[in-house]
């Protein structure tokens, strides 16, 4: 029976909007630390259960079909580089790669240390216990890197993903270039963990792990729902947050339960505390949609900063041919990681980047035409393939900082509306001028590093690439950045809106910058920290 069958007003102590990975962390912690009623509202549908995922994976592998059916809302084609259309119970983390590096201590102090960007209002040390908690909740398998590059107070909850035979050889190669690398931390089980199976190298972690060895938020929701610790309302789109008559507190979330015909049933969620956990796009979008006579620019937006300072990072990537025999396919999504370049040396132009290395099949696949241009069939194809795979190829990638700019923004698009008449967001990413000025230097220095690596192994750079399609910046964050000054930020260091004492924003939108590493673990650590404040 529908959860709405008997009522259209739903009351709770905490109403969480969104059900992605940050929402799951907030709900998990609150369910352990407070007794009140927790309600979660998700615009998308339920994700398919674990038992169906092998079959869905097969369709993906054979035909490229989306393994997450009904994971988006129709009519949400928008202007600008959206990270993903995914909108369902579990959010984008249903098909994430499970890669979980922490940000580095330097990320929180780039202004103080390097004179660029903006310092966060919190330090790495303040976030460390919440990083640890997130790693334990999700189950992170990781290798401790050198302490100076990779500080942490406690060990990883699981032993690292073993380096494959290929990565072992590639690690020896990078050592020749003077680079210290180790096993990338991942939210994948290197042993059975939390009732989920050990990874068995199916190697389709992104977009779908068929056995649940990779953490995804549906596992948290299943557990919390089974224990009646949360009530989750899927297919329910929050359209607007509404203020109390006599104060700047949030009174309700006005939503619509989507039905199959595309219309919807209005639903009102009332709560003491509201947590917007809808990612870097939909969090700012909701606050802007919630404009009223008392908040004409949208909620939380007296500073005019809602939707501003979107941030991400770019990468330089290269494929390097090496005179070593590799066997691609052993566990291809796993990689080596280095944080050796996360601290910009004093007296040089600013550049911070991570470094990763994977096995690769680039330029080592079977081909139809030989070097002479002649078309091959039968044994010729296999013979040619064997000959060319006597040596291996490594994929190397460096994410480098892009310093956020206020004009990198999400705005409401008056020309595009959803089925309920609400304007869709419009996204535009721009580098801060200082960042744009550094770009040529950054690219040049990273390419020089790749060339140095190739030479150290007696290899050759055979392809260079930059990920910059349509102005895209990877692992996007921002839109509700945190800070101590209400004039320059949207939320405080706990994620509480400066303008509304019972409104919190969690995860990606609150980040001040995007570092040069995947952000998901940081989003979840921030979310847990916010949950600790809500329960206090």
């Amino acid at each position: 029976m529908s959860a709405f069958a008997k009522r259209t007003v739903i009351e709770s102590d905490v109403c969480i909007i969104g059900s992605g990975i940050s929402a799951a962390m907030v709900a998990d912690r609150l369910s352990r630390t407070m007794k009140g009623r927790i309600v979660v509202v998700e615009a998308g549908d339920e994700a398919p259960p674990l038992g169906q995922r092998y079959a869905l994976r097969e369709r993906f592998m054979e035909y490229g079909e989306n393994p997450w059916p009904n994971d988006h809302l129709d009519g949400y084609e928008m202007e600008g580089p959206l990270q993903s259309r995914s909108m369902q119970v579990g959010g984008l983390a249903m098909h994430w790669g499970g890669v979980t590096p922490r940000f580095s201590p330097e990320d929180f102090r780039t202004r103080s240390m390097f004179g660029v960007g903006t310092d966060w209002p919190i330090s790495y040390d303040e976030l460390d216990p919440f990083y640890q908690e997130a790693e334990e909740l999700m189950g992170v398998a990781g290798e401790q890197g050198p302490a100076a590059m990779d500080p942490r107070a406690k060990p990883f909850p699981m032993a690292p993903m073993p380096l494959t035979y290929n990565l072992g050889l590639l690690k020896e190669w990078t050592a020749k270039a003077g680079i210290t690398m180790w096993s990338q931390p991942v939210a994948k089980n290197s042993r059975p963990y939390s009732g989920r199976a050990e990874c068995c190298r199916n190697d389709t972690c992104s977009p779908i792990c068929p056995i649940g060895a990779k953490y995804s938020p549906d596992f948290t929701w299943s557990r919390l729902r089974a224990r009646n610790r949360v009530t989750l309302y899927p297919r329910t789109l929050v359209r607007k947050l509404v203020l109390h008559d006599g104060s700047m507190r949030i009174a309700s979330a006005q939503a619509v339960q989507r039905n199959v015909k595309g219309a919807g049933t209005p639903v009102e969620f009332r709560a003491k505390t509201f947590v917007v956990a809808a990612g870097y796009v939909w969090s700012s979008h909701l606050l802007l949609l919630s404009a009223s006579s008392r908040a004409p620019a949208g909620l939380g937006n007296r500073s005019g900063n809602v939707g501003k300072y979107l941030a991400g990072h770019r990468n330089q990537q290269a494929f390097i041919s090496l005179p070593i025999k590799l066997f691609p396919g052993i566990n291809g999504q796993h990689s080596l990681l280095s944080k050796q370049f996360m601290r910009s040396p004093v007296g040089t132009e600013y550049l911070r980047h991570d470094l990763r290395v994977w096995e690769s099949t680039f330029d080592r696949g079977p081909r139809l035409k030989g070097d002479d241009g002649a078309l091959m069939l039968g044994d010729e194809v296999m013979r040619d393939w064997r000959e060319r795979t006597r040596t291996g190829v490594a994929r190397v990638r460096a994410y480098y900082d892009v310093i956020p700019d206020r004009s990198s923004e999400l705005t409401l698009d008056p020309a595009r509306k959803n089925a309920w008449g609400d304007p869709l967001p419009r996204l535009a990413f721009r580098d801060a001028p200082a960042s744009a000025a550094l770009r040529e230097h950054s690219v040049g220095a990273i390419q020089t590093l790749f060339q140095t690596m190739a030479s150290a192994g007696g290899g050759t750079v055979i392809q260079r690439e930059e990920d910059d399609a349509r102005g895209w910046q990877d692992h996007p964050v921002g839109g509700c950045r945190m800070g101590d000054d209400p004039a320059t930020s949207v939320v405080d260091k706990w994620g509480r809106a400066h303008d509304h004492e019972n409104l919190f924003v969690v995860g990606a939108p609150t980040c001040v910058s995007a570092s040069c590493a995947n952000g998901t673990l940081t989003f979840t650590a921030l979310a847990l920290r916010t949950a600790s404040e809500i329960a206090r």
């Binding site: 993906f60 592998m61 054979e62 035909y63 490229g64 079909e65 989306n66 393994p67 059916p69 994971d71 988006h72 949400y76 084609e77 580089p81 959206l82 990270q83 993903s84 259309r85 995914s86 098909h95 993903m161 073993p162 380096l163 494959t164 035979y165 072992g168 290197s190 050990e198 990874c199 068995c200 190298r201 199916n202 190697d203 389709t204 977009p207 056995i211 066997f327 691609p328 396919g329 052993i330 566990n331 291809g332 696949g365 079977p366 081909r367 139809l368 035409k369 078309l375 069939l377 039968g378 044994d379 194809v381 296999m382 393939w385 064997r386 795979t389 399609a469 349509r470 895209w472 990877d474």
Partner: protein, 195 residues
């Protein structure tokens, strides 16, 4: 006199709405390829490596036929990152490939042979080379976008774990469930199998 494949598809086109026609055309093409597999098998012998042997080639061809039968049109593709645009699978390639198999038989008959399968292996390869050259085919790409059935069959097999294992002559078994603990060692050599 029974309708030829082409005449049957033509009759369907005249009689049905487009969506229904497409579904029927796909099913008809799948049935047709399944009903007379000799041409496809003969194509497999011409384009796949001989080390597969007869049994391996037949298995590869059967797997390809299952792929064709399982194809669905207008199904949402996996999302790309960085864009809100969604994509869907394209029209069935089965009808085109069935027609190309017919064309191989016609070419063989023009050569004086009973069918494509009746031609010597090298002559079959010559015909396939000519077809692929005419289509300006230059790579082994995605199966569903292959411009010719010969290339689709090649693409399908070369994407399998078996193909990778044979290339490297070790047991990698990519994308299969395998113990994590064994990933650190060099993959074991393939067992020598007499073919």
């Amino acid at each position: 006199m029974p309708l030829s494949r082409r005449a049957f598809l033509g009759a369907l086109a005249a009689a049905m709405p487009a969506a229904v026609l497409i579904r029927h055309a796909h099913a008809a093409a799948v049935d047709d390829i399944a009903a007379s597999p000799r041409t496809l098998q003969a194509l497999g012998e011409a384009v796949l490596p001989s080390e597969l042997g007869r049994a391996g080639t037949l298995a590869a061809v059967s797997a390809f036929q299952r792929w064709i039968a399982g194809y669905r049109e207008h199904v949402e593709l996996v999302h790309g990152y960085g864009t809100s645009a969604l994509g869907t699978t394209g029209p069935t390639p089965a009808t085109k490939w069935a027609a190309q198999l017919d064309a191989l038989d016609r070419t063989a008959r023009a050569d004086g042979a009973r069918s494509f399968a009746a031609l010597p292996l090298e002559r079959r390869r010559e015909i396939v080379r000519r077809e692929l050259t005419a289509l300006k085919a230059d790579r082994i790409g995605a199966v569903g976008r292959a411009p010719h059935v010969a290339l689709a069959l090649l693409s399908h097999w070369y994407d399998t774990p078996d193909a990778t294992n044979r290339c490297y002559q070790v047991k990698i078994d990519k994308e299969n469930c395998r113990p994590l603990a064994t990933s650190a060692r060099r993959p074991l050599p393939l067992a020598q199998v007499r073919t």
